[in-house]
């Protein structure tokens, strides 16, 4: 059973109410422990794909199976139980700015504590100890009691990863985790994601803008173009011709020289 894939996507399509076809017939299978980078232009459907996996965006048709459980057919309760095993890391971090760092990390435990206790922010001592430990491992030991609003972008993103780790996530979905960061922080975050994936055996799907980062850190690269999978290969076989073809159509139009 441990050998069945962590994530299976079958015939996934999403059409937004305004008529935009974001995804058409996506088929994807991700084995356990793999780090997959999804690349493509803005608007290619990367973000929609990721959000359909945990149903932050409701798919129009198709099926998503995470760790053997059908996400697309899950009831609200089942969906919460599935979501607590899927850590999500966001471009804009999506941390609660006014709350301290440690509480944001503890939010990863919400799926495991009672609804009311969680709502009041009361977490078991063991969870708090682990949160402090995880933050320390990610180099945020000194920041634990600061408000998230006071952190730098790179630090915030590490809190985001801490939250995912607190969930004991089996799958991490990272939506442009480094798009809002300086190159140095970006490098750190990608290394952290890589380390976490290797050490804890967490399956990871990362949306990326930067092809270089995809080649450097991912096992496998999936290229999306206009809502369909254009290429799907091991990171080392990704060549320049494929990349150029994938990003074709957004080359600036030649400026007319006529007056």
């Amino acid at each position: 059973m441990a050998l069945d894939p962590m994530l299976v996507v079958r015939g996934l399509s999403k059409q937004y109410p305004d008529g935009t076809k974001a995804l058409t017939g996506i088929d994807l299978e991700v084995p356990r422990g793999q780090l997959v980078a999804v690349i493509g232009l803005s608007g290619a459907g990367k973000s929609t794909l990721l959000r359909c996996i945990n149903r932050l965006v409701e798919p129009t048709s198709g099926q998503v199976v995470v760790n053997g459980r059908d996400v697309t057919r899950a009831s609200r309760r089942e969906l919460r139980l599935i979501r607590r095993e899927i850590g999500m890391v966001f471009q804009h971090f999506n941390l609660v700015d006014r709350l301290p760092v440690v509480r944001n990390a503890l939010h990863g435990r919400l799926g495991y504590v009672g609804s009311l206790r969680g709502a009041l922010g009361m977490f078991p001592q063991a969870d708090v100890e682990r949160a402090l430990d995880v933050l320390d491992q990610l180099g945020l030991g000194q920041q634990a009691f600061k408000r998230c609003a006071d952190l730098s972008g790179g630090q915030k993103q590490r809190v985001g990863i801490a939250r995912a780790l607190m969930q004991e996530a089996k799958l991490i979905l990272a939506d442009e985790p480094i798009a809002s960061l300086d190159p140095w922080s970006a490098e750190t975050i990608m290394k952290t994601l890589r380390d976490v994936a290797v050490r804890e055996g967490i399956t990871t799907v990362v949306n990326l803008h930067q092809v270089e980062f995809a080649k450097e850190f991912a096992d496998r690269v999936v290229g999306l173009r206009e809502g369909v999978i254009y290429c799907d290969l091991p990171a080392e076989s990704l060549d320049d011709a494929t990349i150029q073809e994938l990003y074709r159509g957004r080359v600036p139009e030649p400026v007319s020289q006529e007056y």
Binding site: N94, D97, G118, Q167
Partner: protein
Amino acid sequence: MATLRDYRVHRRAIARSRLVIWTVILLAFGWATWGTGFGVLTFVQGIGGSFAFIATDLLPPRLEAAPQFIDDAIDTLLMSYVGMVMSVVLSLPLGVLGARNTTVHRLLSYASKGTVSFIRAAPDLIFAIFLVALFGIGPLAGTVAMGISGIGILGKAYADGIEAIDMQQVEGIRAAGGTWFQVLGQGVWPQFKPTFITWSLYRLDLNIREAAVLGLVGAGGLGYALITEIRTFQYRTATTVILMIFVMILLVEFVTGILRRRVL
């Protein structure tokens, strides 16, 4: 491509709509002045009379009467506070259900916002008049009147405040598998708290003022003391009560101001 001609057409359209707006404003003002019989002359004449009344009948205030109204002042304070707490407790669920981003169902949002608008449409004096008939003269009627009419303001302020929060932060909680309550408590509340405190304390400020007016219809507190003194032509004592209301409003504003700064 847009041409200079298009630009002129566009400018002319703007000029036309401005003309219409200003015409409507001026016509409405003219009509209103005529309708209310507002005239500069009558206004100035009235000022003279008022000053004479203030100088001869209201002044100087009979300050030695102040101690006998201390109880009424405390009544007003308590009425305002209890009224605020009542509004807050009733407005919170209406605000949460009314806000588009936290409601359980769109229809419930309309229902909740509708209820709040309906309450807001009626001045609290109207509630007070009904409640005095129901509970009799005294602070209870005034308290409940403020409690209900506060929903009209707080229910809307809360819903607007919740709708203004950053939903990305909420999405983070939802993605981690949070229940509706957890999303509210950990994602919505921390962001909404400053708005909540500001508006709730503002309502306390308003209640102190309202209490003075509501007293006029028999709803207890300093306002009731004021109307009693006026009815018995004890104008100098009435002035004392007015001064006390004034001081209390300033005092409460001062204290809520400090509270707000401490908490935010």
